[in-house]
């Protein structure tokens, strides 16, 4: 009985952490793309990368502090030779994975240019994950950052290292 309770507790504790990870890999997409950027960094790789971020450089120090708390960074960028070479339903397939804790904070829609959607996985006051979907006619970028993201630190980082200065507000454009 105690073991069952323990297993249930572990499952319940692990569930939120697992829920933050979003599948952004779609079979056949990379094969059709002319150029692919694939970054997969789990917690272990992030800890390793942190060791090699300079503590003297202010930008890298700030990035190290942010990265230290993260459980994963996953980025996929696909560039295609022709318009319409990727299935636009992929965007929807990413969206459908986002549960009720995910909130859309930015939604940019353009008929001919880029559509950008930014989602935060909010757990109380904590932002536990980030998803960015940027869909252009010939380019698709999917970003999933897993782990607690300190917005203050992100704001502090803004403007440095090419990272934009953002005022993050919760907006619902649906």
């Amino acid at each position: 009985m105690r073991n069952i309770l323990l297993a249930t507790m572990i499952t319940l504790l692990a569930a939120p952490a697992l829920a933050q990870r979003v599948n952004i890999d779609f079979p056949g997409l990379a094969e059709r793309a002319a150029e692919v950027i694939d970054v997969t960094l789990d917690a272990q790789m992030l800890r390793l990368a942190s060791k090699f971020l300079s503590s003297r450089d202010a930008d890298e120090r700030a990035i190290r502090e942010i990265v230290a708390k993260l459980d994963g960074i996953y980025v996929r960028t696909y560039e295609f030779d022709r318009v319409g070479e990727y299935d636009r339903n992929i965007v929807e397939r990413v969206r459908t994975q986002l549960g009720p804790t995910w909130k859309k904070v930015v939604n940019v829609r353009s008929r001919n240019r880029e559509n950008v959607e930014v989602y935060f996985d909010t757990r109380g006051d904590v932002i536990a994950g980030l998803v960015v979907i940027a869909a252009e006619p010939r380019e698709l970028t999917l970003v999933n950052i897993v782990g607690p993201i300190d917005v203050d630190k992100l704001t502090h980082l803004s403007g440095q290292f090419g990272i934009p200065r953002m005022k993050i507000e919760e907006k619902d454009h649906d």
């Binding site: 390793l48 971020l53 940019v108």
Partner: protein, 95 residues
């Protein structure tokens, strides 16, 4: 009686022959040298083992450094891409 004669013959004192003492001494020197050679070989073996351990450790350090630097570059690339997309979103929102 033959047995008696044979025994006497067998137990008769014999001269060791010329160079016997030299041969014995030469053997003794060889025996003395053996442990010294063994110590040298042990030292060589220890040095070899140390070299292998240090070499392995260095190779591991180099591999880990390369992997770490690659991971760092990927973190920077991932954040650049993310920031670029956030910048684009922001530019639309600000408009």
């Amino acid at each position: 009686m033959d047995i008696e004669r044979e025994l006497r013959s067998a137990l008769r004192r014999k001269s060791p022959g010329a160079g016997f003492s030299n041969r014995v001494m030469a053997r003794l020197i060889v025996e003395e040298r053996r442990p010294r050679l063994s110590a040298q070989w042990r030292a060589i073996a220890a040095a070899g083992l140390l070299t292998v351990i240090l070499g392995g450790w260095t190779a591991h350090e180099i591999a880990e450094r390369r992997q770490g630097e690659r991971a760092r570059d990927e973190v920077l690339l991932a954040l650049r891409i993310t920031s670029a997309k956030l910048q684009e979103a922001k530019s639309h929102v600000v408009k």
